[in-house]
């Protein structure tokens, strides 16, 4: 089945003209038609437009246009938080009404320039706020391994679509784990680049100092290829960093045909991540992965990240504070839905009261509160200071280790509805992923095993130095080559 191929397998077949891009696209569309009713990864997709893009890719392929287009003819779907010109953009919310993007996000421009077929709007927690994709105005996304369970979030649609082979690869966004956690829970690879590595222009902002865009893929090599396409400085995002983009895919191959050696690489195992709430099966899988890495020549060093326990509290001040400011723009004046009022204030209040869902309201109120007069120093400023301590923990650890290895999520996928009435419990799903965003470093999640019954994927997280994506990808690739977890497919 063509929809099951990886980017590297597919581009090789396309280059040899063994298959056409139209056949691949059709294969993905057929898969969507047969399984998306059960998992609801997509909010919408335009099949005719996707096939038209595939035909254009086939024409270029016939002319030998594959050079410098590493994704020519490859279907890639995007989370509903990224602008794609002339396509709807809703952020999983009602408040954007019938918004149609007037321009392409920089990452979408880059995907198109690389030859990708950019199609579909992948479901997500409203405005990327959530860990389960239950907070979408367009309905819940389900985990393809067990449709009574959540796929993780907020990029649950992206993770589920890739895991179930509806698409070859996808983009999501990660503010506190929204790429890595759903990738872990659905059994695919998810990469959150270093803050500033990828332009955020055309990504609807949630928390501007934490947001990064990154890929969901079926294996590590594809993650390297996707990162190579989307990374780089952009004058339209003043926080993107003018640092050259290495050839990530080439770094994996190295000079040896067996891939690069990771012998001598030092990985830190933070003792603070072995917490009480860690599921025994997750712990066993991560322990086994650590042993596997050791057998590949990696040196494991126990490290300490002493402020780990404060990351969730810090995050749930900073992220809502930034969100409350960013979401002020949804006021019913310039775009999206409007609910009329007698004066502008009433119009704003009604529009926002009806347009936003419960979790978004909760975070706007929390964020407004911690920034309000009299509370700013006690909450927001204090959180920013603790953020410094958390970042310093990592920078200090990276003086002795090349990367850090942890579980991605303390448990495998939980049941739909299990945590929806307890926001604090939901927030604590992300205890292992939040600190990475606060510190601005990079992280990747890759499959490292399954729970027994029911069979649910478990993710291994590697955290790297600022702009240390090459090291992460090399270590992840070496592990992946030594295991078969990434080849397992959900029963759907």
């Amino acid at each position: 089945m063509l929809n099951q191929l990886t980017i590297s397998e597919l581009t090789a077949k396309l280059a040899r003209r063994e298959v056409s891009s139209r056949e691949v696209m059709q294969s993905c569309l057929d898969r969507i038609a047969s399984v998306d009713g059960k998992i609801h990864a997509f909010i919408s997709h335009d099949a005719a437009d996707a096939l038209q893009q595939a035909d254009a890719a086939d024409q270029l392929l016939a002319q030998g246009g594959g050079a410098n287009r590493p994704l020519l003819g490859v279907p890639v779907a995007v989370k509903d938080v990224l602008a794609v010109k002339n396509q709807p953009l809703n952020c999983g919310s009602k408040i954007l009404g019938r918004f149609v993007s007037p321009y392409d996000a920089t990452v979408v421009e880059k995907l198109k320039a690389a030859g990708a077929i950019v199609f579909g709007r992948l479901n997500m927690d409203e405005f990327a706020m959530g860990s389960s994709t239950e907070n979408s105005a367009f309905g819940v996304t389900r985990n393809p391994w067990d449709t009574t369970r959540i796929p993780g979030g907020s990029s649950g649609g992206s993770a589920a679509a890739v895991a179930v082979d509806e698409v070859i690869a996808a983009l999501g966004s990660d503010t506190g784990g929204s790429i890595r956690q759903p990738a872990a829970l659905c059994g695919c690879v998810g990469l959150k680049p270093t803050y500033g590595r990828v332009s955020r222009c055309g990504l609807v902002a949630f928390a501007s100092s934490l947001d990064q865009i990154g890929p969901f893929t079926k294996d590590v090599r594809d993650a390297a290829t996707m990162l190579g396409v989307i990374a780089g400085h952009d004058s339209r995002d003043s926080t993107s960093v003018p640092q050259p983009v290495p050839d990530y895919a080439a770094a994996l191959t190295g000079s040896s045909p067996d891939g690069p050696t990771i012998k001598g690489l030092k990985l830190g195992l933070p003792k603070e991540y072995m917490i009480g709430g860690l599921d025994p099966e997750v712990k066993a899988a991560v322990d086994a992965a650590v042993k596997q890495l050791q057998s590949l020549g990696v040196e494991i060093v126990e490290i300490s990240l002493p402020h780990t326990d404060y990351a969730a509290a810090t995050y749930y001040i900073i992220a809502p504070a930034e969100a409350s400011a960013n979401l002020a723009r949804f006021d019913g004046i310039r775009y999206g839905a409007r609910v009329d009022g007698a004066d502008p204030i009433e119009l704003y209040c009604r529009t926002r009261g009806i347009g936003f869902g419960a979790e978004v309201k909760r975070r706007i109120i929390l964020g407004t509160y911690v920034l309000s007069s009299g509370y700013y120093d006690a909450y927001y400023l204090r959180a920013q200071k603790v953020r410094t301590l958390i970042r310093n923990d990592f920078l200090k650890a990276f003086e002795t280790v090349d990367a850090i290895v942890t579980p991605t999520s303390p448990t495998a996928a939980f049941k739909i509805g299990e945590k929806s009435d307890d926001p604090l419990q939901m927030y604590l799903c992300d205890v292992f992923t939040l600190a990475c965003n606060l510190a601005g470093i990079c992280g990747i999640s890759l499959p490292c095993g399954f729970t027994k019954s029911p069979k649910l994927p478990i993710g291994l997280q590697l955290l790297g130095k600022p702009f240390g994506e090459e090291t992460l990808l090399k270590a992840a690739y070496a592990y992946e080559r030594a295991t078969n977890w990434h080849q397992e497919r959900p029963p759907l």
């Binding site: 009404g97 918004f99 149609v100 007037p102 321009y103 803050y195 500033g196 100092s209 003043s238 926080t239 326990d309 404060y310 969730a312 509290a313 749930y316 001040i317 002020a328 004046i333 310039r334 775009y335 999206g336 839905a337 409007r338 009329d340 502008p344 204030i345 009433e346 119009l347 704003y348 209040c349 009604r350 926002r352 009261g353 009806i354 419960a358 309201k361 909760r362 706007i364 109120i365 929390l366 407004t368 509160y369 309000s372 009299g374 509370y375 006690a378 909450y379 400023l381 204090r382 959180a383 920013q384 200071k385 603790v386 953020r387 410094t388 970042r391 926001p423 604090l424 601005g440 600022p466």
Partner: protein, 95 residues
């Protein structure tokens, strides 16, 4: 930090967010719970710590003050809920 008692109605008004009495009650309990958890930051002495606003501190990113191509007027207005003569229509602001 103050005790975890938020005047939800007041904060919702600051945020220009209409909420129902039911939402007010539910949010009050939930946010009290969350703020109770956040109190743990008080355990740390941060008196000599500088705040981090951005993990990658890029400062004063500027460009030449020159006119560059930007979104066409019509495209910028296309998603407006109400527009006329190239302008957004809003309720009366000044009597």
């Amino acid at each position: 930090m103050a005790s975890a008692e938020i005047d939800i109605k007041y904060v919702a008004h600051l945020a220009r967010l209409q909420i129902t009495p039911d939402e007010e009650k539910k949010l009050g309990a939930q946010l009290g719970n969350i703020l109770g958890y956040i109190e743990k930051l008080n355990e740390l002495d941060v008196s000599h710590v500088e705040p981090t606003a951005h993990a990658v501190p890029m400062v004063n990113v500027t460009r030449p003050d020159e006119i560059r191509p930007s979104l066409p007027h019509d495209d910028a207005l296309r998603n407006a809920p109400a527009q006329a003569n190239g302008l957004f229509i809003v309720p009366k602001i000044v009597e």
